[in-house]
C-alpha cells in the first residue's frame, strides 16, 4: 500500500482522472480497444510536453518554447522522413536537443529570467517552423502510425508507449540528477553551496525538455501523417496547465511525474467528455480554466500539492 502510494505520489489526480474516465464510459456506453487507443494516442503529445515542462518547472524555470520546438520537429520529420528515414528521425531530435541547450545556455550563462528567454525563443522557433513549412504539408507515411501507435482497434502500443515514457521520466527523477533538479528548485544558491553542479544540471533539464518536446512533435506528425508549422502552439500554455493540474507548484522543487501525466490525461479526457455530453466546444476552455482554479484554489488541492514532497 505504501509502495503504491509512493508510486502514485498522491491519489488526488489519479482519482479525478478515473472519475472522468468513468463518466466518459457511462456517457458513451462503451469503452473498447478503439477508445482506449484513441485516448492514449491523443494524450501522448501533451503528456510528453507536460513532462518536459515538468522537468524545467522543477528547477523553478518555465519554457514557453516547447510547443514551437514540437512544431519544428514535426515539420522537419514531415519534410525528410519519406526520403530518408534516418534523417527524418534524427534531425528533429537534434533540433529539439539544440533548442533546449540554447535555452539553457542563455538562462544559465546570462542569468536571464526563463520566461522571457523562452518567450523570445518561442518566437524564433515559430518562425523557423514557418520558414521550413510555410503551410501544413510534407508527409509521414502511414506505416509509421502502425509502428508507433498500433492499429486502430488495438490499444496495446499506445498504452505501452505511454507507460514507457512515464517510467523513463520517473526513473530520471529517481536518479541523482533528479535529486539535483529538486534541490535546485528548492533553493538554487543553497544547492550551489552544497556542491551540486547547478549550471550543468539546469542546462541538462532544458536540453532533455527540448528533446521530449521534439519527440512530442514527431508523434503529432505521425498521427497527422504530415507536418504543420503551428501544430505545437496549442501546447505552449496547456503544458503548464497540465503540470499544475498534476499538483506541481510553479516555485519548483516538488512533484511526481505520474501526477503530471494524470494532469495531461485529465485535460485530454475533458475534451472528449464535452463532445460526448453534447456540450458545445465553446465551453471547453471555460471548464479547463475552472479545473485549474479548483485544483490550485481549493484547500485540499493546496495541501495535496504540498503533500507531494514526500514522494
Amino acid at each position: 500500500m505504501s509502495a503504491l502510494r509512493r508510486i502514485l505520489g498522491n491519489n488526488w489526480p489519479v482519482s479525478v482522472f478515473l472519475l472522468l474516465l468513468l463518466t466518459l464510459i457511462v456517457l458513451k456506453g462503451r469503452f473498447n480497444g478503439f477508445d482506449m487507443r484513441a485516448l492514449s494516442v491523443n494524450s501522448l503529445p501533451l503528456v510528453l510536453i507536460a513532462l518536459a515542462q515538468f522537468l524545467i518547472i522543477l528547477t523553478r524555470g518555465i519554457d514557453l518554447s516547447l510547443g514551437p520546438i514540437a512544431s519544428v520537429a514535426a515539420s522537419l520529420m514531415a519534410l525528410h522522413i519519406s526520403d530518408n528515414a534516418m534523417l527524418g528521425i534524427a534531425l528533429p531530435l537534434f533540433a529539439g536537443l539544440g533548442a533546449g541547450l540554447f535555452n539553457g545556455a542563455l538562462i544559465v550563462g546570462l542569468r536571464l529570467p526563463p520566461i522571457i528567454v523562452t518567450l523570445a525563443t518561442m518566437s524564433i522557433w515559430q518562425g523557423v517552423a514557418l520558414v521550413l513549412l510555410p503551410d501544413p504539408g510534407g508527409s509521414v507515411p502511414a506505416g509509421y502510425q502502425a509502428i508507433f501507435m498500433g492499429s486502430f482497434s488495438s490499444p496495446v502500443i499506445g498504452l505501452v508507449t505511454l507507460v514507457v515514457w512515464t517510467a523513463l521520466v520517473t526513473w530520471l527523477l529517481s536518479s541523482r540528477f533528479g535529486l539535483s533538479l529538486r534541490a535546485i528548485g528548492s533553493d538554487e544558491l543553497a544547492a550551489q553551496m552544497s556542491g551540486i553542479r547547478v549550471r550543468r544540471t539546469k542546462i541538462t533539464a532544458y536540453a532533455v525538455g527540448g528533446m521530449l518536446a521534439a519527440v512530442s512533435g514527431m508523434y503529432l506528425a505521425v498521427a497527422m501523417t504530415s507536418g504543420s508549422p503551428v501544430v505545437g502552439d496549442g501546447y505552449i500554455l496547456s503544458s503548464i496547465a497540465a503540470v499544475v493540474i498534476g499538483g506541481v507548484p510553479l516555485v519548483g522543487g516538488r512533484g511526481a511525474p505520474i501526477a503530471v501525466v494524470m494532469g495531461a490525461l485529465i485535460l485530454t479526457i475533458t475534451a472528449s467528455l464535452l463532445y460526448f455530453a453534447h456540450v458545445t466546444s465553446f465551453y471547453q476552455s471555460l471548464i479547463n480554466g475552472l479545473i485549474l482554479l479548483v485544483v490550485v484554489g481549493s484547500p485540499g488541492g493546496r495541501d495535496y500539492a504540498a503533500g507531494l514532497v514526500r514522494r
Partner: protein
Amino acid sequence: MLRLADIDKTYGATRALRAVTVEAEPGTVLGLAGENGAGKSTLIKVAGGAIAADRGTISLDGLSIQPRTTHEAQAHGIVSVFQELTLLRDLSVEQNLFLVDAPLKRWGSIDRRAMRQQAAAILARHDLTIAADTRVGDLPLGQQQMLEIVRAVARKPRVLLLDEATSALGTTEVAWLQRLVQSLRDDGTMVLFISHRWDEIVSFCNRVAVLRNGELVGVADTAALSEAEAVRMMTGHAVSEAEFPNKGAASDGVALTATSLRSRSLDNVGLELKRGEILGLGGLVGQGQGHLLEALFGAHRVAGEIAVNGAPLIQPMPRRAMQAGLAYVPQERKTQGLLLLKSVGQNLTLATLDRLRTLLGLVDAGAERATVEAAIIREQIKTRGGAEPIRNLSGGNQQKVLLERWLLTKPSILLLNDVTRGVDIGTKRHIYEVIAAIAREGVGVIWYSTDARELVGVAHRVLVMLGGRVAAELRGDEVTADRIVAAAVMGAGQ
C-alpha cells in the same frame, strides 16, 4: 597544513582583504576574530572556494590548489559551513545528507533504503535525534544548523571551515559543537572557526588570528591572550568589556500588558511593561521569544489579549500596532528589515511615509530629504548620502538605518529582536546608548537578546523563556548572566 598566503580581495571600492597570510596545522583549531567587515568571512570563503581571491595562493599539505567553486574545494577535502544555511528546506534530512553522493541501485536510481539507513547511522553517531525522513524546513533553526554541521563533518573533511556556525545555537548546542570540534581536532582535522563571541573563540580554539579592516593584526595562542588584549587588537584602541549606559528608572505608568497569549509556539504568556522600562527576554534560541515579539506587533497570530496604554489592540496586525505606538525591529535584517534594492533614504522613511504626504498622494521630497539627512547625522550612519543603495553599507550601518527607521515613528513601545547579533562593538555601543536614551524619555522597550551579558547590561528586568512559556522572571539583583543561563536551561525553581 593549510596555508593561505598573500590573499587580496576587493569589492568595488572596498578592499576586503589585503595581503593576508594564515596557516593552520593538523590537529589545531584556528579562530578568526575581528569586527564586522574585518574580512573574516571573506577569508574563509576564499579558502572554501565560494569566492575567488584577486591575488594570493592557497596550499594544502604543500600542494598549491586553486578551488574556484565549493565543489572543487570539497574535492580537496575542504568543507565549509557558512553563516547562511545551505540546506535544502524542501528536501528530507537524508536527501540533504546525500545530496551529491546518494547510494545508487543497479539502474542508477537512488537506493532510498540504503540512504535512510546510512543517514540514520550518521545522525546517531553525532547525537542528533532527528528522523531521517523529516523535511528540513520543519526542523527548528538550531537543529537545522546542527544538521548543516553534521553534513559537513560526514564528508570527512581534511579542513573544516565554520563561519558563524554557532549563531543559531543555544548553550547546550554550542557545547555539543565544542565536543564535536574537539574530536575532529584530535583526529587530525584542521578547523577554522569564526565567531563574534570571544568566549567561544577561547573555548574552541588553540590559536586565533585577529583581522582588522582586511588586514591581519596578529596570531596568538588563545591561552596567552586576554580578552582586553584581543578587543584592543580587533578595534585598534583599548576597550574593556562593552560598557553599558545608565538605564534610568522605569515609571509606574503601564505601557503594555499582554494576557494569556497562546499560539503554536507560545503557551500562556503574560507580561506587563512599564513606561521607561527595558524588559529583557532571554533563554535558549527558539523558545518563543521571537514569536512573542511578533505577536505583540500583530505579525504572529495568537489567542489572548494585548493592551497598549490601557487600550486593547483589536485584531492586531502591524499597521494597527504601529498606529497604537508600537515599533518592531526584526532579527533578520536582510529578509525582514531592509529593502535591499532601495536607497538609504527610502529605507529610513518606509515606516513613516504617511507623515510625508502632500497633495495628490505624492511623497514630500523636501521633507523627506531633510528627515533623511538629519537621521544620517544623528545616527552617524556611514554613507555617501540618502540616495546611496542600502546594500552598499556595512552590516552595522544597515542596522543603524533599520533602528532609526523605527525611532522616526516616535514609538511609545519598542520591540527589539536580537538587534545586536552579528554587529560590531562600535555599533553595539551606539545602539545601547540610543535605546537607553529613549527609555529615559519614557518609551517602554522589550528586548530579546541571545547574549545574556547584554541583557544584564541593558535590562531592568528579564523574562527567561523555555518551551513557549515564561520560565523565570528576574528582577534587580537577580539579573545576572549566571541566573539567566541557569533559568534558560532548567526553567523556574532553581
